[in-house]
């Protein structure tokens, strides 16, 4: 049956079928869109940031099940974090929180990390006043 035999583990499947934070944020403070050339996945993350903290996050993803689940999980994890914390975010957190991804799909979690960082970078570009708080951004994004 469909529930017993699935390509991904139940957590991944649950995030794929019922993704959290799907959509766009009106008046987002930062938006990042990244793509994986080989696989054709495209991921977009929008952030609402207030007082150096991520208040809200949304994603849209063109990609496979694990790409959708990864963006769902990444936006879940990142909410409430400070920019500094968010800059240290690693794809491994997504993999762990999802209870693992097939080896060939790890790049989906990397894409989620990249989309998040692109969104933070966009935020800093649009909010130069925040640059002091997020000194590390350019280093990371370089």
């Amino acid at each position: 049956m469909s529930d017993t035999y699935t390509l991904y583990n139940p957590t991944v499947m649950e995030h794929f079928m019922n993704p959290r934070n799907m959509g766009d944020l009106k008046d987002a403070d930062g938006v990042g869109e990244v793509g994986a050339a080989a696989c054709g996945d495209i991921m977009k993350i929008s952030l609402k940031i207030k007082d150096g903290k991520i208040e809200d996050a949304r994603f849209k993803t063109f990609g496979c099940g694990s790409a959708i689940a990864s963006s769902s999980m990444a936006t879940e994890l990142i909410k409430g974090r400070t920019i500094d914390e968010a800059l240290k975010f690693s794809n491994q957190e997504v993999v762990d929180a999802l209870g693992g991804l097939p080896p060939v799909k790890i790049h989906c979690s990397v894409l989620a990390e990249e989309a998040l960082k692109a969104a933070l970078e966009d935020y800093v570009k649009k909010h130069p006043e925040a640059a002091s708080q997020v000194g590390a951004v350019s280093a990371v994004a370089a």
Binding site: A37, G40, K60, T61, F62, I68
Partner: protein, 421 residues
């Protein structure tokens, strides 16, 4: 949950009659056909009957032209390498089409490493081989032409009689991979002018574990799996007797039911494509329209702005089994080379779904599929940044261009910093 199986290209359930025919060969008639005692001779007789049944399906003259292997892949390997090695002194050039199955493509690549050369003949946008290119590709060094009857991905039926005529003129043996057609379309080795033909009963309600290779006695062929002198010295190893017996029965049933099966799935195929096209915008059929140029089992579509694996997973969750040629579903992370060969846009290749019909599918299955699939497309487009960007005029549709925005490939290259393919 209601189950709709639309992946008959990858598997078919065993016919009950086939299972019953196989049953005694597991415990009762368990002998080895190489044995000289009655246990061996009994199963030897059974193999002979199965050979006759296989020969009848493809209208071969004699069961002595039928060799058993383990699957369609091994049959293709044997045809390609077995003919190449047998004719090494004559020449080391092969000709294949650009859309052959990986079992042919990769056998040829292996031979290329060993000093052979190969010309891959292109196909048109429907996936039909270019006969003029084929004609030009054959040289005096060519020892084999391999053109499949029907393509596994997009269902395109190749003009095999014309191919056969060209090969006969040039006196080069023709190998026709009939894995995607045997049991569904008439196959006639003589009409095809084929020196070799392969197929596998697991594609028409027979068991896994057996492949068939027909070889006209005039074609030279050496063995590629070495050992004992089973299969007239062409394939060593203990024969998989129950599967061979079952495969023979599946072939016999296919001979009698071929027309009715083909008619049934052709009706469903037309209804399925009509339903999808009318309910879903920005959807494209890959390969020829349903009709004389397309195998009646296959529908291969690309749905724009969404990716194939997601479609497949959501369909699976709803009880529908389908396949996809998207790069995300392949272990190699590459799109199907067939979609590449017909020049399909990369974005459309990513949104690929393959539905293959079988004798047990119904009109209700088809209507339910269209309805469910339309809902899934809406859901996935709602999650897709591409759909949003298309609606906002940032990127354009390939299927129905609006004249606004850049291409998906350009956009993907922009966001990833690298070209999309």
């Amino acid at each position: 949950m209601r189950q709709v199986f639309l992946d008959h290209q990858s598997a078919t359930p065993l016919l009950p009659a086939v299972f019953e025919a196989m049953r005694p060969y597991f415990t009762e008639a368990f002998g080895n056909p190489s044995s000289l005692h009655h246990h061996g001779l009994r199963v030897r007789d059974a193999l002979k009957q199965a050979r006759q049944q296989m020969a009848a399906l493809i209208r071969a003259d004699s069961e002595e032209e039928i060799f058993f292997t383990s699957d369609g892949t091994e049959s293709a390997n044997l045809a390609i390498k077995g003919v190449a090695y047998a004719n090494e002194r004559k020449g080391k050039h092969l000709v294949i089409s650009a859309t052959e199955h990986p079992s042919v493509m990769n056998s040829v690549e292996f031979l290329e490493k060993q000093g052979w050369t190969c010309t891959r003949v292109g196909v048109d946008s429907e996936g039909i081989i270019r006969l003029d290119e084929l004609q030009a590709a054959i040289t005096p060094q060519t020892v084999l032409v391999a053109i499949h009857h029907v393509n596994h991905d997009i269902g395109a039926i190749q003009p095999i009689r014309e191919v056969g005529r060209i090969c006969a003129e040039k006196a080069v043996p023709l190998y026709v991979d009939c894995e995607a057609s045997a049991g569904w379309l008439p196959v006639d080795v003589k009409e095809f002018g084929a020196a070799l033909v392969s197929f596998s009963p697991h594609r028409f309600y027979g068991p896994k574990g057996v492949g068939v290779l027909y070889r006209n006695k005039k074609a030279r062929l050496v063995s590629i799996i070495h050992g004992g002198v089973q299969e007239g010295g062409r394939r060593a190893g203990t024969e998989n007797v129950p599967a061979i017996v079952g495969g023979g029965v599946a072939a016999a049933v296919a001979v009698t039911e071929l027309d009715s099966r083909a008619k049934h799935v052709a009706e469903l195929q037309a209804r399925l494509w009509e339903g999808l096209r009318s309910k879903i915008r920005f959807i494209k059929l890959n390969g020829p329209e349903p009709g004389p140029k397309r195998v009646p089992t296959n529908i291969n579509i690309s749905t724009e702005f969404i990716e194939g694996e997601g479609q497949l997973l959501m369909l699976d969750h709803q009880g529908f089994a389908v396949a996809s040629g998207s790069s995300c579903v392949s272990k190699s992370l590459k799109i199907s080379h067939v979609l590449g060969a017909i020049g399909l846009d990369h974005a459309l290749a990513q949104g690929n779904i393959i539905m293959t019909l079988g004798k047990d599918n119904t009109v209700e299955d088809v209507d339910y599929t269209v309805e469910t699939f339309a809902r899934i497309v809406t859901k996935l487009r709602g999650m897709s940044p591409m759909w949003d960007e298309f609606e906002r005029g940032v990127i354009d549709s390939v299927i129905a261009p609006t004249g606004r925005g850049k291409s998906f490939s350009q956009h993907a290259a922009d966001v990833s910093g690298k070209p999309a393919h």
